[in-house]
Symmetry: C2
Subunit: 90 residues, 2 copies
């Protein structure tokens, strides 16, 4: 099926699984590691740092942003991403 029966589990279990899923890809691990080291970074640098296509990086960034681990602020034509320190406690 490929569909998860979320109703069988507690909210806490589902949320923990969501967070784990967000980190369940080496590209997203690499993004978070890089942001922790550099503190902030524009998308273009991440595309160069990691070897994936720009569209793919953008997709990974969206997933990380969706659960609040990172946040981005528009800066002219580029977007500056950084770790959300509040969410980075688990």
């Amino acid at each position: 099926m490929g569909v998860t029966k979320t109703n069988l589990f507690t909210t806490e279990q589902n949320e923990l699984a969501q967070i784990a899923k967000a980190m369940a890809h080496p590209a997203r691990i690499a993004i978070v590691q890089h942001l922790l080291k550099i503190n902030q970074c524009i998308t273009g640098d991440l595309v160069l740092e990691i070897g994936l296509a720009q569209a793919t990086i953008s997709q990974h960034l969206r997933e990380l942003k969706a659960i609040g681990i990172i946040q981005g602020s528009i800066e002219g034509t580029s977007v500056n991403y950084c770790i959300n320190p509040v969410k980075w406690e688990e």
Copy 2:
């Protein structure tokens, strides 16, 4: 594609992603939580505890065992699972 380009990343990044992926499902979170609380548990109890079919639980247990988070010892006709304390450090 659905295929991860693991060659672009470091061994550490791939391993962290593997561990995160193992915990990226509420059923596996629930299994680990239950084993941490009860300390050890036979498969049948987990099938009752979680509401999934026996075959599905067995599949999740195999994934957790594959990366070494849990280990099982055969005990007659049943299998007793417990957390691997060595691997449970991350």
